[in-house]
């Protein structure tokens, strides 16, 4: 059993510090290319060094894919502006509450000046929890009612 409640851990322990960040004036085509190259699902956009928006796979699906969006369109016009953010010191519990209540899958983590310092995705959060409960996740019988009938299970 972990000695520290995983839900009280600070987000510094699990945030992605190799997140993607670009200026909000960057063109859609360049952002798309960067996302594809990095196999990433979201991009943090900044203005004057502070987080101004997030551009996610959902934004592409909802606003660009069928519209034939021109590659030079500034991503500022397509991103989700003023995203929810948390400080790096916030806890896993706070991140779960915020992501659930705001329906976001990508949470930029910021410093006091609003500069991006990390990214928490729902996938990363789930991986963290899967690792935080290794015994429960890995050692479960494939069927909940399964009982070994012989002592060594042979």
């Amino acid at each position: 059993m972990p000695t520290v409640d995983p839900f009280s851990r600070p987000l510094t322990d699990l945030a992605d510090d190799a997140f993607l960040v670009m200026e909000e004036s960057t063109g859609y085509g360049a952002v798309l290319e960067a996302l594809r190259t990095a196999r990433a699902g979201s991009m943090i956009l900044t203005k004057d060094g502070a987080v101004a928006g997030v551009f996610t796979e959902r934004d592409i699906l909802n606003k660009c894919l069928l519209e034939g969006t021109r590659p030079e369109t500034p991503v500022r016009e397509l991103m989700s502006p003023r995203p929810s953010t948390l400080p790096l010191t916030a806890t896993v519990r706070e991140a779960i509450a915020l992501m659930d209540s705001k329906h976001v899958r990508n949470l930029p983590l910021v410093d006091g000046a609003g500069a991006p310092k990390g990214l928490l995705t729902v996938g990363r959060l789930i991986r963290f929890l899967a690792y935080a409960f290794p015994a429960e996740v890995v050692n479960l019988p494939p069927r909940p009612g399964q009982v070994a009938e012989e002592a060594d299970g042979a």
């Binding site: 409640d5 995983p6 839900f7 859609y28 085509g29 798309l32 290319e33 594809r36 699902g41 796979e57 959902r58 592409i60 699906l61 909802n62 660009c64 894919l65 069928l66 590659p71 003023r82 929810s84 953010t85 948390l86 400080p87 010191t89 916030a90 519990r93 706070e94 779960i96 509450a97 915020l98 992501m99 659930d100 209540s101 705001k102 329906h103 899958r105 910021v110 410093d111 006091g112 609003g114 729902v122 996938g123 959060l125 789930i126 991986r127 929890l129 899967a130 690792y131 409960f133 429960e136 996740v137 890995v138 479960l140 069927r143 909940p144």
Partner: protein
């Protein structure tokens, strides 16, 4: 309350900081209550509230699928052939292969879907969803229900399950 980002004082109940414009953390009463670890250990896939899956035939185009995802506000579709599930198409699949590269109206969903996706059953422990999504990097998984129909759970359902206070 004091803003954790810029330390400005805000009146109680504010959603956004007057100083820096950031969202203020939800007050403590809105944090998930109870023993979250217990919820992880005890829940079943059924307790995630799987929703009926939205499906599209395998010979339709990515443009049709995107229309449907927008309309139904879902991130993944089941792909069916003669009434049987043959694959899953997620928004990520649609984007990786198509966005900015090809005309979505000319690419069949069968060309970009994942064939034979891993599935869950409603009576499996919720930890199985954590495990499969973590290992496979999935955000959506089909759930086989007892009546033979197929539902879908998403990583968001896992969050909602954990966030729901009892």
């Amino acid at each position: 309350m004091k803003c954790p980002d810029c330390a400005a004082e805000n009146i109680p109940g504010s959603d956004v900081c007057v100083g820096c414009g950031h969202d203020l953390p939800d007050p403590a009463r809105r944090l998930p209550k109870g023993d979250l670890a217990e919820r992880v250990r005890k829940g079943t896939i059924a307790s995630l509230g799987p929703r009926p899956a939205v499906s599209v035939p395998y010979d339709r185009t990515v443009a049709d699928a995107v229309d449907l995802m927008r309309e139904e506000k879902v991130g993944a579709l089941l792909i069916t052939k003669a009434g049987k599930v043959v694959g899953i198409l997620t928004e990520r699949d649609a984007l990786r292969e198509v966005a900015g590269l090809k005309d979505p109206a000319k690419v069949p969903v069968s060309a970009v879907m994942h064939a034979d996706p891993d599935t869950l059953r409603a009576d499996e422990p919720v930890t199985h969803a954590f495990h499969h999504m973590s290992v496979g990097g999935y955000r959506h998984m089909p759930v086989l229900l007892d009546d033979g129909s197929v539902a879908m759970v998403s990583s968001r359902d896992l969050l909602s399950y954990l966030a729901a206070s009892d």
